[in-house]
């Protein structure tokens, strides 16, 4: 039997604020590794997970490493499906402009920068989540 190319839909669900726990950071580490496997990868930020993408994180005071700039590298890793739960933003008094912009370069269109971010309702997110083969929640 030869090598079969299995391509699965992987969704990483981020539901926690960064720094209070390590889940945001160690989730991101899995996501980056997963890029090497040619799978259909998406990331969801919902509940307190939306805080992971806040601009202007400054961690000198708490003595921890600021890993927020790593999210902007996701596009370079061909990870360009980022779902953000609109209701989670609203409950927190946040808007999309409070979050980092995440982009990827489209080779087919002369490396045009395109946004990776999809602002979705819970109903839409529920539908997308339901189509996944693997959901990992951190």
């Amino acid at each position: 039997m030869g090598e079969e190319a299995i391509i699965k839909k992987f969704m990483y669900v981020n539901r926690k604020s960064p720094y209070g726990t390590i889940y945001a950071l160690e989730s991101l580490e899995v996501v980056l590794i997963s890029a090497a496997f040619d799978q259909d990868v998406s990331l969801t930020f919902t509940d307190d997970g939306v805080y992971q993408l806040m601009k202007n994180q400054k961690t000198e005071g708490i003595g921890m490493k600021n890993f927020s700039s790593t999210y902007s590298a996701l596009g370079d890793y061909e990870i360009k499906k980022i779902y953000i739960d609109k209701e989670s933003l609203e409950e927190r008094g946040l808007s999309i402009s409070d979050l980092q912009e995440l982009v990827w370069e489209d080779e087919d269109e002369d490396y045009a920068e395109k946004s990776s971010i999809n602002l979705v309702s819970r109903d839409e997110l529920s539908e997308i989540m339901n189509q996944q083969d693997i959901v990992m929640s951190f």
């Binding site: 997110l125 189509q131 083969d133 959901v135």
Partner: protein
């Protein structure tokens, strides 16, 4: 596709139950395990939420976790199915994927 959702936190302490229910679709099932089994008891602040959900999704609770906490099986909300680890395994394989609300 059908999805099994597991919830392992007390609804009194943690909001994961409402995040989970917001993501469920018609072919979803919800399995309460560990401290999550508190959710399926009658006469609590959250009983109505579970009873409403029963018309939409299948709801299960892990028997060994109920027993450990001294929660009487007689006081589990009618319609919630009480299962063991063997059925937990079956639920996993019968659904297309599993999402753990941690």
């Amino acid at each position: 596709m059908s999805m099994l959702h597991t919830v392992n936190k007390s609804p009194f302490e943690n909001s994961s139950i409402s995040s989970c229910l917001a993501m469920c679709t018609n072919d979803s099932s919800v399995l309460f395990i560990e401290d999550g089994v508190i959710s399926v008891m009658k006469s609590t602040k959250f009983s109505d939420l579970i009873m409403d959900s029963l018309s939409k999704y299948k709801i299960y609770a892990l028997k060994p976790d109920l027993e450990a906490r001294g929660l009487s099986l007689d006081n589990v909300i009618d319609g919630v199915e009480i299962v063991g680890y063997d059925e937990f395994v079956d639920l996993t394989t019968e659904h297309d994927s599993v999402q753990s609300w941690l």
